[in-house]
Symmetry: C2
Subunit: 218 residues, 2 copies
């Protein structure tokens, strides 16, 4: 199936890109600059990952939308909570309906490029905090996109029932260059090593028994 | 209910804005500049309509998305087909998943502004051509937005079973300044009077028995 892949440049979506490249025909990788603190570091990784597979990379500037959204992710690194990913304070980092916005834009672009599927790396570990990562949302959004396009596009979510450790294992198996993925919410040159997404990344790679090539500040 | 209204500056959405103002608390009107041929004339009307009711108006520049979408609406007035709105050639004017993109962005913004509803003016006359105007799409998208937001936002579509003539009648009843709405796909100073949306506008106002204040080129 011809698919477009949503790519952030993190470990999960970079693995999803490799998965899609193996199982489908990837017409493009779509990355969104929504003005997050960590956009530039993350998007550089996204571009590298797409180009390493010879997949057309499109980076779409939607910062004009973000001006109207409220989230700690959009308001400077000092706003980022530290600690475990699952904790209540992670709600501060929610960008309202982010996946819905990404998927809707991707659907319009995918239809323009004659694709029939969208691939997104939402996984089980995200579900408790982010409503737009849950399978109930993905099912409804897939139906909406199917109903709203001539091609009856569908959303593929290969990791929806997997945890981050399983994704890390798959990344190693598929030969993803993990050093060229970026997870930190703070957005500095090196991963901070202490924010919630850094903690999650460390734990997943360790649990999967993968040597972590990441340089952390701490 | 606190609602955000999707406003293009055309007759339908301007009427929806007045309807929402009467029945709900409108926290903002959201207009999108997606680079259409007729954007500037239409958006000026949108802003006028919102300000006439004292409703905060936000215009969001999403032209960076449109660069990746294929549609006659985005490629110069000479591409616009003339004739009846219902004809096959109107498919050229489809902007892929436009309503999906608008609704998703609006959902994120509405959630940021503590609204619980989105109002869209999709109506029965649009259904045959545009898949993302049909009730089956609206139902699925409303579910997706409800599942994907903390506020469980819903989509209100007051005109989904009405035709354009009924909307024109309501516009007159609600005191909408019809002269300050813009329908023409060509985007010149005056309505062309011959493109499909001009034809539809003329017919609806005539069938509703409303004196048409529009100046047409032809």
């Amino acid at each position: 199936m011809k698919v477009a892949v949503l790519l952030s440049g993190g470990l999960d979506s970079s693995t999803a890109l490799h998965w899609a490249h193996l199982h489908h025909e990837v017409v493009c990788a779509l990355a969104f600059d929504y003005g997050s603190n960590h956009a530039q570091r993350e998007l550089a990784c996204a571009q590298w990952q797409a180009e390493s597979l010879g997949i057309p990379y499109h980076q779409i500037d939607i910062r004009a939308i973000s001006e109207h959204l409220s989230s700690a992710l959009l308001s400077g690194a000092e706003s980022i909570p530290t600690g475990d990913y699952a904790e209540e304070n992670m709600k501060l980092t929610v960008v309202p309906f982010r996946n819905g916005i990404f998927l809707a834009i991707a659907a319009g672009i995918a239809e323009s490029k004659d694709a029939h599927g969208l691939v997104i790396a939402a996984h089980a570990g995200d579900h408790s905090i982010y409503p737009d990562c849950r399978e109930s949302f993905m099912q409804a959004m897939s139906t909406a996109i199917s109903e709203g396009t001539y091609a009856q596009l569908e959303i593929l979510r290969p990791f929806i029932n997997e945890n981050k450790t399983e994704i890390a294992s798959l990344a190693a198996k598929l030969g993803v260059n993990i050093e060229r993925t970026y997870s930190c919410y703070c957005g500095r040159e090196q991963h901070c090593g202490t924010c919630s997404t850094c903690s999650e990344r460390k734990q997943a790679l360790s649990a999967a028994g993968i040597s972590d090539p990441t340089t952390y500040e701490q």
